[in-house]
C-alpha cells in the first residue's frame, strides 16, 4: 500500500499505543492542535488526553518528565516540535537520560523515545531549520535514529520502544510528504545501515533528509557512467561501521552527504572512520557535501544555496575521478 512518511509514523504510533498500555505521548500541540506536522492527528480522539498529553511550552520540563515516567515503568514517547527547541531540553537529555544507567552503576534504565523534527528546506529560517544530529550522535548512552524511508518511518518506532535505553529519532521535515509502498506491518532493526542503491565505483553515504537528494545524484552519476552505491546510515549512534567500510572497500571512493554544517559534522566522523579503517583501500580522499557554514537563511534561493543538493553531490563525486595531484 502506498502511504506517506507522515502516515507511516502515525501508523507506528497508533500501533504502539494500541499494543502497550505503558506507551503514551507528551509534547506541544500533539493533541488538540493535531501536531505541528500533523503526525499525531486523530490520536487524541482515539486514545484520550491522558495518553496523548498536550504539554505547556516547557521543553526542559516535559522531557525531564519523560525520563521520570520511563523510570517509573511507562514507555513515554516525547515529541519535540523542532530540533532548535531541543536545545532547551539538552540538559535533561545529556546530563540525565544519557548518564542515568551509567551513574547508577547499571541499576536503572531510561526507556524513553524522543521524536524530533529536524532540518531545513521550508523557508522557516535560522531558528527553525538546523541539523544537530552530530551533537546527539556524540553522546554515549543514547541511540540516535534517522528514518529516511517510509518503511523506516513505519518500523523504527517499535524497535526504539523495545530498546531499554533513551532513543532519539530525527524526522526530517522534508520527508513528511514522501510517499512510497509500505506494508501495514514492518519489522526493521535499529542497528544496521542499509544499501539503498547498489553500486561498484563510488560510495555515497548519507542519512535522513539527504537520502532522496543522494539517490537523485546517483541516477545522474549513472548517466555520466559512474555506478554509485548509496548507503543510508539509518542509525547515527552507534554507527554501523562494517556496512560503511564494506562499501568503501569495494568502491574505493566515497562522498559523505550530511545536512549538518561542515565543521564538526557527522560527515567528519564518517570520513575519519573511513580513513582510520580503510585508508589503503582508497583511490581518492573521501569528500563531504554539507551545509554551508551560515545560519539557515529565509529567502529560498539562499536556503537552496546553503543546503546539500544533487548537483553539489555530483560535483563532489566527479572531483574524485580526476587525476590525483602530483
Amino acid at each position: 500500500m502506498k502511504r506517506s512518511y507522515r502516515e507511516a509514523l502515525r501508523g507506528a504510533l497508533r500501533a504502539a499505543l494500541a499494543g502497550d498500555p505503558r506507551v503514551f505521548m507528551m509534547g506541544e500541540d500533539i493533541g488538540r492542535y493535531g501536531g505541528t506536522y500533523a503526525v499525531t492527528k486523530g490520536l487524541l480522539d482515539e486514545f484520550g488526553a491522558e495518553r496523548i498529553r498536550d504539554t505547556p511550552l516547557s521543553e526542559l520540563g516535559f522531557v525531564g518528565a519523560g525520563i521520570g515516567a520511563a523510570l517509573g515503568g511507562m514507555r513515554p514517547i516525547v515529541e519535540i516540535m523542532t530540533v532548535n527547541f531541543s536545545l532547551l531540553a539538552l540538559d535533561q537529555i545529556v546530563n540525565t537520560a544519557a548518564l542515568y544507567h551509567h551513574m547508577s552503576g547499571g541499576q536503572f534504565s531510561v526507556p524513553l523515545v524522543i521524536r524530533v523534527a529536524t532540518g531545513a528546506g521550508r523557508q522557516v529560517a535560522a531558528q527553525h531549520s538546523h541539523s544537530f544530529e552530530n551533537w546527539y550522535a556524540h553522546i554515549p548512552g543514547i541511540k540516535v535514529l534517522a528514518p529516511a524511508t517510509v518503511e523506516d518511518a513505519r518500523g523504527m518506532l517499535a524497535a526504539a520502544l523495545a530498546d531499554p535505553d533513551p532513543v532519539v529519532m530525527f524526522e526530517h521535515v522534508q520527508l513528511y510528504n514522501l510517499e512510497d509502498e509500505c506494508p501495514d506491518l514492518v519489522e526493521v532493526d535499529i542497528v544496521s545501515a542499509k544499501v539503498r542503491r547498489p553500486g561498484s565505483q563510488l560510495s555515497l553515504i548519507t542519512y535522513g533528509g539527504s537520502l532522496p537528494k543522494t539517490l537523485v545524484a546517483a541516477e545522474r552519476l549513472a548517466t555520466l557512467g559512474i555506478d554509485a552505491e548509496v548507503i543510508d546510515l539509518r542509525v547515527l549512534r552507534p554507527l554501523d561501521a562494517p556496512t560503511v567500510l564494506a562499501s568503501v572497500r569495494k568502491c574505493r571512493r566515497a562522498v559523505v552527504i550530511d545536512e549538518c554544517w561542515r565543521s564538526g559534522s557527522l560527515a567528519a566522523e564518517i570520513v575519519a572512520l573511513i580513513v582510520e579503517n580503510a585508508f589503503y583501500d582508497l583511490d581518492a580522499p573521501p569528500a563531504r557535501v554539507c551545509s554551508e557554514e551560515v545560519p539557515i537563511p529565509y529567502a529560498k534561493h539562499l536556503e537552496d544555496a546553503v543546503l546539500p543538493q544533487p548537483e553539489k553531490i555530483v560535483d563532489a563525486a566527479l572531483s574524485l575521478f580526476g587525476e590525483p595531484p602530483p
Binding site: 506541544e28 500541540d29 493533541g31 488538540r32 492542535y33 493535531g34 505541528t36 498536550d54 504539554t55 505547556p56 511550552l57 516547557s58 521543553e59 526542559l60 520540563g61 532548535n84 527547541f85 532547551l88 521550508r122 523557508q123 522557516v124 529560517a125 535560522a126 531558528q127 527553525h128 554551508e292 557554514e293 551560515v294 545560519p295 537563511p297 529565509y298 529567502a299 529560498k300 534561493h301 539562499l302 544555496a305 546553503v306
Partner: protein, 333 residues
C-alpha cells in the same frame, strides 16, 4: 473574559486619537495583504498574523519614547511597523529581498531594526525575555533612562526562560516593561491547559514585580495602562508586568487547521474587534466621519500597494554576501 465591547468617549486629543486608529488600520491592511501574498506564494515560511490584536501594539508603542528598546516575537509585524519601520522594509523582508530590514535572511519572524532599537523578531518562545533583561541592565549600568519593552505571548510563561528573566529583573530592579499579550492560546493550547495558575498577574507578582492588566481589545485602555505602567516603572524603580487580554482572529500560522476552538468563540471575540469598536467610538463622538475613515483606509491601501511594489522590484541577496553576514566585518568599537 468576553465582556461588552469597549465603548465611551476617547480621552485623547485628535492627533493621538486618530493616530491610534491609523496605526491599527495600517497593521490590519498590511497583514491582510501578507496573507493574500502567502496564498500567491510570494511570502513563504511561517507567517503569524496579529489580526485582532492590533490595539496592543498600537496603544503600547505610543506610550514608549523613541529612545526605548523593544523586543518582540515572531508575531511582530505590528510591533515593527508601529515602532517606525517602513512598511516597504517589512514587505521586502517577507519577500526575502535585500531591501528587507534583515536583507531577506530572516523573513516574517525576524524583523530587526537598529535605527529604531527593535531587537527582533525572536522565534524561540520566551527567547527574548532574558535578552530584554540584559538590555535593561546595560541601560542601567550606563545611566540611561531608556526602558526596555518586551512583548511575548502568554504561552511563554510556562518556559523556564520567563521564570529566570522575571526573577533577574525583579531581583536587580531593572527597567523592563514585560508586555504579555494574552490571546488565550499558544498555538492550539488554551491557557487553562498550560498553566496551573491562570491568573497571570498573580503569577508575575511572585517575582517582586509590579503588575497591571488591560483590555487588549480597547486601544484606549491599552494606551492608558501602558502609560501608567511606565510611570510606575520610573517612580518605583521596579519592573512592571502588564497583561493585555486579547484574541487572535486568524489561525496561529498559515498551517493551522484551527481544530482547538469553536467558531462561536472566535465570533464573540470579533464582536469586540479593536478596529471597528474604536472607530465606532470616534464616530459616535463626532470625531470621525465615514468619509474620513474611508480616506484613511485608502491612504493605507496605497501605502500597502507601494510596499508590495517595492518588495516586488527588490533584489536577491548574493550568496557571497550571505556568507559574509555570519560574522561582523569590522571590530566592535
Amino acid at each position: 473574559m468576553i465582556t461588552a465591547p469597549p465603548s465611551g468617549p476617547v480621552p485623547f486629543d485628535d492627533a493621538l486619537a486618530r493616530g491610534l486608529l491609523a496605526d491599527m488600520l495600517r497593521v490590519r491592511r498590511l497583514e491582510e495583504k501578507a496573507a493574500e501574498l502567502y496564498g500567491a506564494g510570494k511570502i513563504r515560511g511561517f507567517l503569524h498574523l496579529y489580526i485582532g490584536e492590533e490595539a496592543v501594539a498600537a496603544g503600547a508603542m505610543r506610550a514608549l519614547s523613541a529612545e526605548d528598546n523593544v523586543v518582540a516575537t515572531y508575531r511582530e509585524h505590528g510591533h515593527a511597523l508601529l515602532r517606525g519601520m517602513a512598511m516597504r522594509s517589512i514587505m521586502a523582508e517577507m519577500f526575502g529581498k535585500v531591501e528587507g530590514c534583515s536583507r531577506g535572511h530572516g523573513g516574517s519572524m525576524h524583523l530587526f531594526d537598529a535605527r529604531i532599537r527593535l531587537f527582533g523578531g525572536n522565534a524561540i518562545v520566551g527567547g527574548g525575555l532574558p535578552l530584554a533583561v540584559g538590555l535593561a541592565l546595560a541601560e542601567r549600568m550606563q545611566d540611561s533612562p531608556r526602558v526596555t519593552a518586551c512583548f511575548f505571548g502568554e504561552g511563554a510563561i510556562a518556559e523556564g526562560a520567563f521564570h529566570e528573566a522575571m526573577n533577574l529583573a525583579g531581583l536587580w530592579r531593572l527597567p523592563v516593561l514585560f508586555c504579555c499579550e494574552n490571546n488565550l492560546y499558544a498555538m492550539g493550547t488554551a491557557l487553562s491547559r498550560s498553566e496551573a495558575q491562570t491568573d497571570l498577574c498573580l503569577k508575575a507578582a511572585s517575582y517582586g514585580v509590579s503588575t497591571l492588566r488591560a483590555d487588549g481589545q480597547d486601544v484606549v485602555a491599552v494606551h492608558q495602562t501602558t502609560r501608567a505602567a511606565l510611570e510606575r516603572l520610573r517612580n518605583e524603580g521596579v519592573p512592571v508586568f502588564v497583561e493585555y487580554q486579547t484574541y487572535r482572529y486568524r489561525a496561529h500560522s498559515m498551517f493551522d487547521p484551527e481544530l482547538y476552538r469553536d467558531k462561536s468563540e472566535v465570533e464573540a471575540w470579533k464582536s469586540r474587534g479593536p478596529l471597528h469598536t474604536y472607530s465606532a467610538r470616534l464616530k459616535a463622538e463626532g470625531r470621525l466621519s465615514e468619509a474620513e475613515f474611508l480616506a484613511l483606509d485608502s491612504q493605507v491601501g496605497d501605502e500597502v500597494e507601494d510596499a508590495v511594489a517595492y518588495a516586488e522590484s527588490g533584489t536577491w541577496e548574493s550568496f557571497d554576501d550571505l556568507m559574509r553576514a555570519v560574522h561582523t566585518a569590522s571590530p566592535a568599537a
